[in-house]
C-alpha cells in the first residue's frame, strides 16, 4: 500500500545528518473532490532509531506537505551505525526504512 521511502545518513563533522524521503498523500481532510470531502489521511508519528535506541519521536500533522522530506541532526553516531526510520498514519498504515551512517 505505502509507496517507497528512502533515507540517508551522513557524518558531517561532529554530528550526523539524517535525511528521509517518504511518499504519502497527507490529506488534510479539508479538501473537496467533486463536492465530497476527501477524508483525512496523514502521518501522525515519525520515529527515528539509532542502533535500536529512539533518538527522534515526532508527532506531525496535516500541516506537512504531500511526500514530505525530513532532516535531522543527531550527535554521538559513528560510521556504520544503523538508522531505522518509521512512520504511522491515522489509518494505521505504516512503513519503515533502514540505512547505515556513511
Amino acid at each position: 500500500m505505502a509507496g517507497p521511502m528512502k533515507a540517508r545518513a551522513r557524518m558531517r563533522g561532529n554530528y550526523t545528518d539524517i535525511r528521509v524521503l517518504m511518499s504519502h498523500p497527507m490529506e488534510t481532510g479539508l479538501r473537496k473532490d467533486k463536492g465530497k470531502v476527501v477524508p483525512k489521511h496523514f502521518i501522525q508519528n515519525l520515529t527515528v532509531k539509532l542502533n535500536g535506541t529512539t533518538v527522534v519521536e515526532g508527532e506531525i500533522s496535516q500541516a506537512m506537505s504531500r511526500n514530505p522530506v525530513f532532516s535531522f541532526r543527531v550527535g554521538g553516531a559513528k560510521k556504520g551505525d544503523k538508522v531505522e526510520i518509521s512512520w504511522l498514519d491515522n489509518k494505521g498504515d505504516t512503513n519503515k526504512t533502514e540505512t547505515a551512517v556513511a
Binding site: L21, R66, S71
Partner: protein
Amino acid sequence: MRASGCSALLIAAFALVAAPVAAQAAKATKYQKMVTEESPAELFELVGEDLWKKKQGPKKASLEKCDLGKGPGVLKGAYAALPRYFKDVDQVMDAETRMLHCMMTLQGRSKKEALKRPFGNANKPSEMEYLTAYVAGQSRGYKVNPGTRHPMEKFSYALGEKLFFARTGLYDFSCASCHGEEGKRIRASELPVLSNPAVARPVMATWPAYRVSNSQMKTMQWRINNCYRQMRTPQPVWGSEVVNAVHMYMMVTGKGAVYAGPGTKR
C-alpha cells in the same frame, strides 16, 4: 520647494519598489536551493525502476531491452543524449517517445492503451512520469549531448527553433513571448530565456522535475504541452514531430550541461 519635495517622494517610492524585488529574487534562489537538496523526485525514480523491470503487456515483457540510443538495455547517459534520430523508425525521438515505441514493440501494447494516460496527477502519477524519472536519473553526471549530426536531427532542431519564435494561437503568442526576455516570471516561477545557452543549460539539466507546488513529477512532453495550452493553441499531439522538435531545440541549446535531473521545481 514643492518640486524638490515631489522628487524626494519619487525616490522614496522607487526605493520601496526596488528593494522587495531584489529581496524576492534572493528568497527565490534560496528556496530553489533548499528544495533541490533532497527531493521526492528520488521516490519516483524508485517506482520507475520497478515499472521498467515489470513484465507486462501481451508479450509479458519488461522494458529492460529497450534501446534508448545507446544499445538495448543501456541506460547510462541515454537520457542526456536524447532526442536523437533512430534509424529503425526513421524518426527523431525523445526519451518518452522512444519508451512508447518500446512499449509497443517489446511489450506488444497498443499505442492507444500505452498512451491512455500520459499525464498523471498528484494522487496517481502516470506510468510515463515514473519511467521518465527513472531513465533520466540514470544520466546524472553525463553531459547533455542530443543528436545534431543526422540530417533529420538538423531538421528537427531547425523546426524547433522556428516553432520557438513562431507566433500563433488566440493570443498570438510564441514560446519566446515568455521565454525570450530576461527577468520575466509567472507568479513565483522565473521564466528562463531558453534561446540563451547559458540559461538553457541548467534548465535542461534538471528536467523532468518534481513540482513542489502540486506534488507531481512532470516531464518535458507535459511541459511543452502545457505551455501550448497556456498559449491557447490546439493541444499538440503527444510525442509528435512538433513537440519533439521544440524539445530538440531546447536540448541542443542546453548542450554541454552536466545532467543533474530529475530536478525539483517550485
